[in-house]
Symmetry: C2
Subunit: 211 residues, 2 copies
DNA sequence: AAATTCAGCGAACGGCTGTTTACTGAATGA
DNA sequence: TCATTCAGTAAACAGCCGTTCGCTGAATTT
């Protein structure tokens, strides 16, 4: 059999995960381009040379982290877009979902925010590609809800990009809020601001035909 | 005299600038936390120890770069906000000014985008503080143009933050457009998208009292 | 049971890092 | 004119880095 787990492959996957987890933890207060290969293997407790059994590079590991980090977000968003409730309800659901996701996987979000414009090209490109896919999904989800005569495809795309960028913006704002002081007060303020901003965008969307 | 230039201080300022310029150039394709002190001094052509005559750290140099990078932007924005023209005119002026600034100082913008969420805390904080000042200025500039009864201070602030974040977003979009391919076609597309997004926000702003 | 695969090991390599030290010599001030 | 300041130097320091090598021994296959 080719893809049966087996004791062998199970152990390999285990240390691979350990490497990724250790890297993600170390990346909470430094950027990928300053992360050392030995630093990662030391944190896991394996020899430096063992790293090469799983990744060619640190950028290779970074790309793997990108897929893992944005994969879960992908599922979350589609679930929200499926809900056909009113504007304000969807906005609240979106902001709440983002907040919960940031609370659940802060290291992933921090990694994305940090490396989106970071110093490692392959990782940047992986993030850009994944966010592009995000925008596609948002666009196709919002399309049926918009009057087709005043919303040419490029304008829908424009709206979708604004949504995606605002979500990333909101996520990093949550992150900074919980990093600065762990009280819940700041988080509520960030959520309120994000909701209002989305409401404002939503308002503009409804009056788009005037322009 | 205390602050007359003199040959001595002039030379010192000269190599200080050389260090900052070299760092900025090297930071075009790596992040600050992976930048080496020796790397910078080697690029300038001075001994590594000379660095300490000007900066305590590389983060110290980073903070200096932040002030330089956002200082010029600061002047630009205030000039645009002073213009009391109509909505669309101001939007076009803003996008054009951002585009021109990115074309003029790409390395500064890239540095800000990269280190805004980068791995060096003091630099992150310096950027955050400067962007906060930006939001303050935008808020006080927009305040007299908004009906006071439906725009409490916190909502004005919310709008200002949205504007600032969108400007940063637009600037980095311009940067990536000119990095991917130097043709002007992509730059025009980015500009068109940015204008539409600002118009949409502007539309939402005018109908804010409905909410 | 014998042969093979292969994840992880330990050691070694050259090269680069930040920082300190004592110094030189030109600009400055008395 | 003579003493002082101080930007920049050259050398040395211990320490970490990524990468390569041959090897081991348990899981797998034949």
């Amino acid at each position: 059999m080719s893809h049966t787990p087996g004791v062998r492959q199970a152990q390999k996957e285990k240390t691979r995960r350990a490497l990724m987890d250790a890297a993600l933890r170390l990346l909470e207060d430094q950027s990928l381009s300053s992360l050392g290969l030995r630093e990662v293997t030391r944190a896991v407790g394996v020899a430096p040379a063992a790293f090469y059994r799983h990744f060619r590079d640190l950028s290779d590991l970074g790309v793997a982290l990108v897929e893992e980090s944005l994969g879960s977000l992908h599922h979350m968003i589609n679930a929200i877009l499926a809900g056909q409730d009113g504007d304000e309800e969807r906005i609240e659901a979106t902001v709440d979902a983002v907040a919960e996701h940031v609370r659940g996987y802060p290291a992933h979000i921090r990694f994305i925010a940090r490396e989106r414009h970071g110093g490692v090209r392959p990782v940047r490109q992986a993030i850009a590609a994944e966010l592009d896919r995000f925008a596609d999904e948002v666009a196709t989800a919002f399309c049926p809800q918009l009057p087709a005569e005043s919303w040419p495809p490029e304008d829908v795309r424009m709206l979708a990009e604004l949504y995606v960028d605002h979500m990333v913006m909101t996520a990093t704002a949550f992150l900074e809020a919980q990093a600065d002081h762990p009280e819940a007060a700041d988080e509520r303020r960030v959520a309120a601001t994000a909701r209002k901003q989305m409401l404002l965008i939503s308002l503009g969307r409804h009056h788009w035909h005037d322009a």
